[in-house]
Symmetry: D3
Subunit: 301 residues, 6 copies
């Protein structure tokens, strides 16, 4: 079972809407190496775990539960990058601007406006829907760990590339956070293989980055977040593995019990031009009667 905690795992900085950045960030949500994939892959490995090795299972389960929160974080970030983007102005050659005119701009994903009312979609940056073909679970412990290590490193590689595509602060705050967390996850799986006998030498982590050039990342690493792992569970035995020196020689691993305090979940306004939520005065009144707040009128476009 799972419990929903109404907090985001990290704060999303405020900035201007940016549909092109939103489209790019979809890779981190519905991409082959995005958060939906890590979440589903680790949960399947957790459910299907064989043998008496709870600390290994708890690493997979704990990281996998953190990933559900990452899906939530990235979806919310995309929403913030999209919300209001359409009414901010239209195409230059259409003076009498239409509310959704810039949905036609090829730098963005038209489905963000046409299908999803200026919010996130379970697709990658090229618009391909997420597929369960991505999920890997071989039943073999060493292979699963090796794959997961590679998966986290690839996810982090892509986020480091995303970092260099846009300076939008909302975009950057989430991308930087994921760069740091993916590093912690790389360590979790690298360490699990280390305790089984692998010595990684200097090939890891991938990618090797210079955080001096990535101030948002450096800030988070100063808080040691790249060496910490919350259990996102009770009675977890993760700490039997996630402890001692980082397998990459950059600090001391630290298992934290439970989950972090978190940040407010952003609330999206009504968007009449998208008919979202599309309530007229009568329905708004009914909703107001339930929430106990006075009703607000929404103009229908």
């Amino acid at each position: 079972m799972f419990l929903s905690v109404e907090k985001l795992v990290n704060e999303i900085k405020k900035d201007k809407p940016d549909p092109a950045a939103a489209r790019a960030l979809q890779e981190g949500l519905g991409g082959q190496f995005g958060e939906m994939r890590t979440m589903m892959q680790y949960q399947f490995q957790n459910f299907n775990f064989r043998g008496d090795a709870k600390p290994f299972r708890d690493i997979v389960r704990g990281v996998g539960t953190e990933e559900i929160g990452h899906v939530e974080l990235v979806a919310n970030t995309i929403n913030i990058l999209l919300d209001g983007a359409s009414t901010a102005g239209g195409k230059p050659d259409q003076p009498d601007t239409l509310p959704l005119a810039n949905a036609l701009d090829g730098d963005g994903n038209i489905h963000h406006f046409l299908v999803a009312a200026q919010s996130s979609r379970p697709v990658d940056a090229a618009g391909n829907p997420w597929s369960a073909l991505y999920v890997y679970d071989s039943g073999n412990l060493v292979l699963n760990l090796l794959y997961n290590l590679m998966l986290e490193a690839t996810g982090r590689l892509q986020k480091c590339r995303l970092y260099q595509m846009s300076k939008n602060k909302a975009f950057r705050s989430t991308v930087s956070y994921l760069i740091v967390r993916d590093l912690a996850h790389e360590k979790a799986f690298a360490k699990a293989l280390e305790v089984l006998g692998v010595n990684w030498g200097n090939v890891l982590p991938v990618p090797k980055i210079d955080t001096a050039k990535m101030p948002e990342v450096k800030e988070l690493e100063k808080k040691n977040m790249h060496n910490q792992q919350w259990t996102f569970a009770k009675d977890s035995q993760m700490a039997k593995i996630f402890k001692g020196p980082s397998p990459f020689g950059d600090g001391e691993l630290e298992t934290l019990d439970g989950l972090p305090e978190g940040f407010e979940v952003p609330q999206l306004p009504m968007r009449p031009e998208e008919f979202a939520p599309g309530l007229d005065a009568g329905l708004l009144e009914k909703v107001g009667g339930i929430t106990g707040k006075s009703s607000k009128k929404e103009a229908v476009a």
Copy 2:
């Protein structure tokens, strides 16, 4: 954020392995109207929710969080239906029986043995991988509720059909549980539309079943589980909607705070014929050193 609670939401009865039933039950996991879909659909509707209507959002979020636990339940049930199936005997025309010979039986899904080491896969009963094309979120509140109602009813319809395909007790215990829970979810979305003004008359629920012929279902309905809804969250406002008479006239709705007590998560044994987890004596010793238990030897096939 989400917290993993190491309990199953319902108990899985014990019975013989049954790969054909396992294959069928995959529809409830990775099918178009299965638990992966409800989970992802409701989470996306939750993340992308627009407007000031927290009780409506909390219904979607609460049911959506329960569904993560349903994914876990169905995956575990499939595992129990598969575990040991291959070594129970081979094809009749192969007297010197091979450990995985009955993987070739067309009534089952060969990937259960060849890819997943006798455990669950993110596919449907026909072997098609789950696709994010299934996820529906229009941004429009009435449409989302209408879709969710239809989705729960279709899921329940399919589970009622599954019920009539096999008497395997492990299979039946989970299928019956889902028939009851899907009914509660049907009510949640039907009620949310009712408070917005719809009167359903007698068209719902779908399907209309005679539980006198479904004793496992009747048993659970006696506990009123078809009228209850846990919040799977704190500070949920779900109860502002999920209360009062059932929209189908069959009892009184009841919102329960938090999550149920739950049942032990089954533990799968090692399967040397699948090389799962595939640890030799040396690696088992290392694992034992971490878990603090004396090592057990696993024979490699």
Copy 3:
């Protein structure tokens, strides 16, 4: 625009239910070379037709409209092969037979029972959903005709293979009809290329069959149905091309105006074990009030 004429283009013979034959026949409905594909391909070529060459367009449009009726015919045949299959008996090792027990039989497609209530699905014989990736329209007239010729020949090839898989009369009546009609369509496209200058020698038709061994096919060819083509339209100029000697030297082509007389569309009974249509006494009464017939009660399983 299109008009629906409530008749089937051919008669479906009666025989026992046969889910394995139904599964096989799905290739003719939702397969890569099945009727959904020919229908969509020709309609797209029709809608997108370039240049002043109405007789060529009318061949594509006419055959493409016939194909909608073929989709209808194959779907109805699958329905007849499925209807009642589940209640005819269960698996031998389940004496206390369940209504849908033989849905688990690997020779059939479990979705026929679990998803579609014993009726047809838009998938192929291996269960893959139909995809618009199949549709070919290059805009180039010669290429389109060449592709269509190859498409009809491949469809006919597969139907000749299907013919040799089962003797079920319902199955055979439709398969034989399609073998004959696909031959007529092969001729339509071969002739259109012939009038542009190709001489086919003796390479066509594909496949070359001995109808002496296929009595149902021979029967239809005696009626010259392999040389006839209805226009399925008014004001068609198809006859400017589809006339004269068959390009395969086996008769004289004949264009017929409009559409054939047709046969009764079969009516499927209620299936309570599938909850289809799933109406209880109250709803049946309401339906009866509309149809003007006295209500019939449907037992809910």
Copy 4:
């Protein structure tokens, strides 16, 4: 069986080519809630219909047959938006303009030029091919009606969003027509549920729009087209349901027998830069011999 009537169901206004609008409109053709989907879904529900309830079947069949004509209408509109787009000019930084240079513009769909010779494709606005995974038929009458209602409302929602993306007159004329027709279809399915006992209150229709801001839509509604439904068949019993007050309280429903008069199907010119239809002087002469018109020469690029 079906008959092809060589008329469009609505008139397409003339305007400048606009590949970005053409790409967007693809959602209405090959999108998950576009016309290919409604057409195939309703036809499958029609073919697979169970029980003695012809008026319900005839609603599904009638609307489903209208949808084939909608596929035709949208495809033709896309063609008009594309035709000549490539030769209208190139990218600003390529002074010596190439005939197909603006195919590279990311606002459009490159396949429109590269694959389809400036015409429509069976894909959505993001370029994903149409998939039969979209087709829903549960065999259960109430669920099918509920789904169809939701489907029409979602289609209409998307068309209302499209309306606000472009003012191109060809685009707008078809989008507006579909907004009106989808409303009539919403009513058809809402009414069918109403006669079974549902009272919709004020939640429908979805979306609720202000036609004062949508003059093209208002124009069509003045003709009462949002309350009318042609049978697109003979001997239809649709009128037993589609009559009386609109379930949304906005007029009186009216069933019309047969099909509307219709409008001329546009004819696309030859496009030598696309090699479509790609006939040289010799082949054009042969075509001319068949059509009975004097041959026209097509320059090959």
Copy 5:
């Protein structure tokens, strides 16, 4: 560029046709971890290789070229398992046996008979078509090597499972060969990471098998084939890495220049019941005139 050498890389033993084994072996051809995937993945990594590190590129290129031959080997093995399977007899309840009756048997893949004329298909054991979504190339050398290592180990794991599904000699000869070659490939990528600094301890290879129970595998390992690697190229620098002790401590690595001698490519007979190749007497005569052999008559079914 590539050169086709008309030899198979290993010999396929003779045995009875076995469509169920053929279906299973498809995983090794078109599965996510099959030969089409390794071939395409390594070729893309080869084409896209960055930096001045030819020995690493030559390992990827050399193994990737061997894999084209593996695709050929597995396809040929499937063909041998299928050829003649249909005429060997029909279903027990169809006494007057049809030539293709056992195509309906659910243990096999019906497309083998219906689409491919008793030969191989680019799909996996569950019938899913191969997808380029499988191909991984990150551009990062360490990640690519890590992925390739995991890929070879997973492929070998699946082949070890296949080994235990059937004793058919044709099936076993190819499966055993691939178990040995995948081990050599595991070593190639493990060694490449070793020279960059990784010490694998005892976690590899995966899976750890007991070849005493796999005589066909043991036979090939006696020839040291699990430590050898042909370059499948000239001027390869692979040997700068693939040399010295095996990273798994089981022998000495050996790079061999060029390609092995190979074995005869099997020749498939005509199958009239499949209309393959489908030549009538006239066409056979023409073919005979070209090959210079006297024509053979093929009976058309």
Copy 6:
């Protein structure tokens, strides 16, 4: 078996990076009518060939082996069009330019930068992954030849359209080469059908082009490359068919034994902004130790 020859089959001219052209050219690599498809289709037809007709098999095998080299050529061309594209400058509104800022430009494929480190991907111009659904092998010789002819003509048609989209010299050199080679392949399959009895009249080739307007194409045709076919094999009997007058009346066919001399394979530099190959000083030193060259330092971004 196959041998890798470290040469490109044609020379790629040098020009500026052009991500939009790279995206378009992906159609020639991973498109439905691109080189991955011809390669896989012909290899499957080769492996599955039935009957005693080696010259026909050798045509399929020879062209199919050339196609592997075409995959290589197109991938390399895309790489050259992409390499350095990201650092050449950013979006105009981002003065402090980011290294990967123009990855967000909708004219390109963002995956080229985000996933593939400025190199090729197995997808088409619209970003859809290559699918084995494209591969056609019916087992029927005439149909396979007819399909292959149509396939080559469609591939050539698309390349002629590509030619008119961009003047980039790297792009044009490869596109022009393929226009010529696809013509030779059209002739190969047209000739094979001709020897079986077809007379093509004047319908072929498709498309009919005016090479006077395509100087790069004309240049290659002057070398008679549109009438030549290398065997890409030893002991090929292709020449028994590919000889004599072109079936299109434009020269004399010529079979050449073996493979052409070829051109240098381009070498891609390190791209630190993509972390490709991502080696730090220590790892570069290790690589240098293996290659025997002094190490070069790569700055990490």
